[in-house]
Symmetry: C2
Subunit: 178 residues, 2 copies
Amino acid sequence: MSLRHGLLGLLAGEPGSGYDLTRRFEETLGSIWPAKHPQIYSELTRLAAEGLIEAEAEGPRRRKEYRITDAGMTELRRWLVDVEVDHTMRLDPLLRSLFFWLMEPQELKAHLDKEARFYREKAELYRGSAAAKDRGDFGDSPQTRAMRVTIEAAVRLYDALADWAEWAQTVPPAKPKP
Amino acid sequence: MSLRHGLLGLLAGEPGSGYDLTRRFEETLGSIWPAKHPQIYSELTRLAAEGLIEAEAEGPRRRKEYRITDAGMTELRRWLVDVEVDHTMRLDPLLRSLFFWLMEPQELKAHLDKEARFYREKAELYRGSAAAKDRGDFGDSPQTRAMRVTIEAAVRLYDALADWAEWAQTVPPAKPKP
DNA sequence: ACTCAACATGTTTGTTCTTACATGTCTATT
DNA sequence: AATAGACATGTAAGAACAAACATGTTGAGT
């Protein structure tokens, strides 16, 4: 249940409405923690009910701007410091790789080519963001520094996956009856 | 919904009971696609109802050994070849990294040390499996070759994360008001 | 004045996954 | 013969997540 803390964390940076947060989630976290708006809105309602966030008066088109409360800040820091990291990975591409032996060589080649391209593109994308940050395009707040660290992880992970997909092409299939 | 195809894939390798599959899932897929036994049992029931797998007569302690049917094999290959890969990643550790700016330097150091150790250990573990496979400990079937490829991905991902956690320590926190 | 696109916020329904509960069997040891 | 521990299979309740449905507002352009 990290969506909860993801929202708290974003609100710790700056206040925002459900719509804002949906976009910020999509932009900054899209690849590492996808969340759709229905889930975000209902989580915000629950967070507000628990007093971890609060909304000021409604703005135009009943927009509610939420900000984090002291209790929310405490909870967020508790999560960061005291709660065990969840190291679960659920990677469809790796699951599939276990079953590569069921694919025809040309199917596998096509698959790995496509995967490698996808990952390399993602890596390039994040490399671009990292460079922009390093040039100072986003300023140099504590928040942007943290984001720079996250981006670095994305770059490294996607590069690792791209390298892997290329490497996998060099592994010959087992010969029948050695 | 890849658990479904994970099970089909394992059964394509060799038949097994719910209990077997729970253990095989845990062993071979534990890090990349965790699944608990209640989910596995119910998915097996559903797969059997759809005719993608079938159970022979019950063994001791009403153990049912399932094997994949032709229809199941067709479905598995359809998934492998025709269904878009789901590139979703949901990585709690990366989510947290976005909020590193809320942690005290010594808390962050402790966190990153622990993370780096964790990932490096995992990488070593899988490196060991890879070496065992390369020595021929597991034979050289198409299945084990595919598993070797999956293991390589795990090694590379965990190494990448370990490197990242170490690298992150070298990033100084932003000075207040530059 | 009209209309379209983007803004903004929800509810409903169904699936997936986790946690806790519940039960029964076989084997080896005492 | 009793029993403990590993084997083996399930159900129930609830949380998390996704997809589809539904509604209303504002601003910009015509």
